[in-house]
């Protein structure tokens, strides 16, 4: 068992002992089990999964970072939503608006802006893919 804490600036979303955790990170999905080496890595928008009592649970998470230790793992992110908390129309709207904004921007000049919009898009996509499963 490993202690999973999911914390956003607004509240502590989740805190419980789970069997294992799968996280979307900058280098692809990683799985964390008990006795994992102490690790800190950036979290990217996507789907976080954990197993508890033989069942798999899913959450859509935003960007942030992960701090894993031998017996605990904390996920600090700006968003963590379960399927029934996701507002499909809102996520769709955000995605559409970000995509339209990207089209208007210059690829070379506004690299930073585009990167941020892409983050918004992937956040929305993460929500939608979980919701529509």
């Amino acid at each position: 068992m490993i202690r999973l804490d999911i914390v956003t600036p607004e509240k502590k979303v989740f805190s419980d002992d789970v069997a294992n955790v799968y996280l979307p990170t900058a280098m692809g999905e990683i799985g964390v089990l008990q006795s994992h080496t102490a690790l800190v890595t950036p979290l990217v928008p996507g789907e976080l999964r954990y197993d508890k009592d033989g069942k798999t649970y899913e959450l859509a998470v935003g960007s942030g970072f992960v701090e894993a230790g031998p017996d605990s793992i904390s996920v600090l992110t700006d968003m963590a939503l379960t399927a029934h908390e996701i507002d499909e129309t809102l996520a769709e709207k955000e995605q559409r608006e970000a995509e339209e904004a990207i089209d208007k921007l210059d690829n070379n000049e506004d690299a930073e802006e585009i990167a941020q919009l892409r983050a918004t898009i992937s956040r929305s996509v993460a929500q939608l893919s979980l919701k529509r499963r």
Partner: protein, 298 residues
Amino acid sequence: MANLKDIRRRIKSVNNTAQITKAMQMVAAAKMKKAQNQAIAGREYADRMNLVLTNLKANMEGLAHPYLEVRDEGKHLVLVISTDKGLCGGINTNLLKKVHKEITDEADYSTVGKKLRDQIQKAGKDLLEHYSLEDPISFADVKPIAKHLTDQYLSGTYNKVSVCFTNYISTMVQEPHVSQLLPIDPSKLAEKKDYEGVGKGKVGETNTAEALEKEYTFEPNANEVLNALLPQYVGFQVYQMIVEARASEHSARMIAMNAATDNANKLAKELKLEYNKLRQAAITAELLEITTAMKALE
């Protein structure tokens, strides 16, 4: 001399005022509780982030990031967080005083909250952006503000970004506060701030021993982790300061409305006394007249 009818009218209007302020006090009290809880809820996030940052700092030889660069050229950008509505005691005036005292160099302003936006415009300062935030504040609402500040900083026009807000200490005490957001002072990075969480924990303390106990592996490397972490760090700071300011606003309003209700009740009591005195005097005068008339008839 005021007549009975005038006093009766005044008592009625004072009582009405007391009723309204009482209602506002109760609304503010409910909102205050929520805002306080929100301010406390950020503490956990702050603690964990500080822990990782402390460790990261110890593991890196010389931090390098645009947010940490101290530049000479450029102006000062100040975000002033005030309230949208009035009737909240002196918090806006106190904050404005603090701004005038602390911001002495040439600065441009962005604002949250209408009250000080109007004041700053009246003072002839340049206003860059204005934001209005509804209760309850969500982290997503604050992101555009943090983005605006960091964008302006990175564009090179500004070499320093400060935030002025009212720090929540307790229901009775709120303090105006000026805090430098950018560039981040590496020595202060990861240190406990006085606005992280409501009034608890020691300010300026870093939990070094606990943080360094763990030997983290940073993936892909420490520099990448720092690049990912700092924007989140800045975003969280802005969020926390706005939440603190909100908790201060509702507390100040509750106290102000409580005082207003007390004053109105006191005034009503005094008027009532005067009213009764006058009524008594009128009755006595009338009785006297009747008795005199009766005596005259005998």
